[in-house]
């Protein structure tokens, strides 16, 4: 597993990477990931406690698939609690174009997240969601979306056969 003590020395092009089309082979590790364009530009940076699951159902998948020859590079992180700070530092350093267009509300692009569903929860469940979101340093809405995407992405709910 890669470890980085100085993010200033981080070179995304030197990290392990796979073409977007081979994303099912991504490892299930906690990681900060980099979407790289054919010309090596850093398009997007994100984080996940399971890289493999994240990319089986990423909310940006259709958008990124429309950009030819993208690949996903990743920095495996042994302590998942460090993911938010490493992701933030990487975004600030590399200024990926898609992240920069996202910072509108909750760090996501409302133009892409254009479907809404209403979710009924008890106060007790809502509080559990808030606690989990706080631990992951996400806003509750962002936590819900990512959690559902990752749950669907892990395949046990059979989303791809319908």
């Amino acid at each position: 597993m890669a470890t980085v003590t100085n993010l200033g020395a981080l070179d995304p092009l030197a990290l392990p990477a796979l073409p977007l089309s081979e994303r099912k082979a991504l490892p299930p590790c906690a990681a900060v990931y980099f979407v790289l364009a054919a010309d090596d530009a850093v398009l997007y940076i994100g984080r996940s406690i399971s890289l493999a699951n994240r990319w089986l159902a990423h909310h940006r998948l259709h958008h990124i698939e429309s950009i030819s020859s993208c690949r996903i590079a990743w920095l495996a992180v042994s302590d998942a609690r460090l993911l938010p700070s490493i992701e933030k530092a990487c975004i600030e350093r590399f200024l990926p174009s898609l992240n920069r267009t996202e910072v509108v509300r909750d760090g996501t692009n409302p133009d892409l997240l254009n479907e809404v569903f209403t979710l009924r929860v008890t106060e007790s469940l809502y509080n559990a969601i808030v606690r989990a979101a706080r631990k992951d340093r996400r806003k509750p809405a962002d936590w819900i979306r990512v959690t559902i995407e990752e749950a669907l992405g892990n395949g046990k709910h059979g989303h791809d056969d319908g």
Binding site: H59, L112, F117, A128, A141, A151, L152
Partner: protein
Amino acid sequence: MAAREKREGYTWLSVHMSEGMKEIISRLSRREDRSVSGMARRLMAEALRARGEDWQEDVDGDGD
């Protein structure tokens, strides 16, 4: 991103998702004869349990 509203003793959250994700979860909910809300709640409950989070189960089930 998510509006939170309290009514009828529950908290209602409006969650934004991509069109593709909404379609997947809608399809799953139809297959399992659940509401979209109930399906999303189940997925979150599984994730929370896996993390060791604790909360009081909804005794009203999937009635929304």
